[in-house]
């Protein structure tokens, strides 16, 4: 468990470092994910060493987004000022993206293997 946590945090740190050094337009944690994937592919990190910690964190992934969401309360006034284009734009676009993305993938890849 502890080993897994150290690895996950270590890869996040490495990701943050890489972003800082290269100025890539990607967050450190996403970069850390890519680095961990590479380490798994190269066999540097064994899947078993992260499984327990990763499964525990992923089980509560939804929870970790809650505090960021509460921050929306600070901007109610901003949203209320032009609520119609903001709300309709967000809703319409979210569904459009799901349809375009999903249909493109399905059209090119087929409905089954």
């Amino acid at each position: 468990m502890l080993q897994g946590l150290v690895l996950l945090l270590g890869f996040q740190f490495a990701g943050e470092l890489l972003v800082r050094l290269t100025g890539m337009p990607v967050p450190g944690n996403v970069t850390g994910m890519a680095l961990l994937l590479m380490a798994l592919a190269l066999g540097v990190v064994k899947e078993e060493s992260i499984t327990e910690a990763a499964e525990l964190l992923l089980k509560y992934l939804a929870l970790f987004f809650v505090p960021a969401g509460v921050g929306v309360m600070l901007y109610f006034d901003l949203i209320a000022r032009e609520w119609l284009p903001i709300v309709v734009g967000t809703v319409v676009s979210t569904f459009v993206v799901m349809a375009v993305t999903g249909w493109t993938e399905q059209l090119l890849g087929g409905e089954s293997d």
């Binding site: 929870l63 809650v66 993305t101 493109t104």
Partner: protein, 232 residues
């Protein structure tokens, strides 16, 4: 009393407690509109507003919970690694889907808001709304959007995808977990991913992949489009 509220313990207990209640409510009702993330966010905001506790006090504990988001995103490498064969088999459709989705997101969000008379700044703030927060903030800043508004919209988009993403995807005829996961991850980043990961491992893995790749695609497409069409 006020010093106790500003103690990180308060924010942590409130976040975990309200989320736990929201999960119970979701499990027992089985009603998709009662998505735990969405209900927990609304519940905590309500508690803070009613008791007139400043957001800054809550955030002392909130940021401790938020801290765990970092290693959790790194952990998304695990389901992706475990399902690598299925993902690699469809790598080209997946990449094409992400780019098509990123383009559709920019155009449809800005276009709809513009048609409805949104101000220039609001229209620009909507552009990166499907992208994970750190990237969305960077893009909004660069193109002249209102950064806090973008951050709020990213959360709203994520909740929307988490609440009705899987149902909507099945409704429009998406069959494979890769198609469904890709659609949800590209449209609603991590919050959508958190829900689909609970329902299907492969869909969750692809959704997690889409968080990073859509971020990258949007970060590449926005300056290109701006250059191409001379927008500012």
């Amino acid at each position: 009393m006020t010093d106790l509220v500003a103690n990180p313990l308060f924010g942590v207990v409130l976040t975990l407690g309200v989320f736990w209640l929201a999960e119970q409510l979701y499990r027992r009702s089985g009603f998709i509109l009662l998505n735990p993330v969405f209900v927990a966010i609304c519940g905590i905001i309500l508690v803070l507003k009613v008791s007139q506790i400043p957001y800054a006090d809550y955030a002392q504990g909130g940021k401790l919970v938020l801290f765990l988001l970092g290693p959790s995103v790194v952990a998304l490498a695990l389901p992706l690694w475990q399902r690598r064969k299925q993902v690699l088999r469809r790598k080209l459709p997946i990449l094409a889907g992400i780019f098509a989705g990123a383009l559709a997101s920019i155009v449809s969000a800005a276009g709809t808001a513009w048609l409805l008379g949104g101000s220039h700044q609001v229209v620009l703030s909507l552009v990166p709304k499907s992208v994970t927060t750190p990237i969305a903030i960077g893009i909004s800043e660069k193109i002249g959007g209102i950064v806090p508004l973008t951050a709020a919209l990213v959360v709203m988009t994520g909740c929307l995808g988490a609440i009705c993403g899987p149902e909507f995807c099945r409704m429009i005829g998406l069959k494979k977990p890769t198609s469904i996961g890709l659609a949800i991850g590209t449209a609603s980043h991590g919050i959508g991913t958190a829900r689909i990961l609970e329902e299907d491992r492969l869909a969750g893995a692809v959704s997690g992949l889409a968080i990073g790749l859509n971020g990258l695609a949007t970060a590449i497409l926005v300056p290109l489009l701006w250059l191409l069409f001379g927008w500012s």
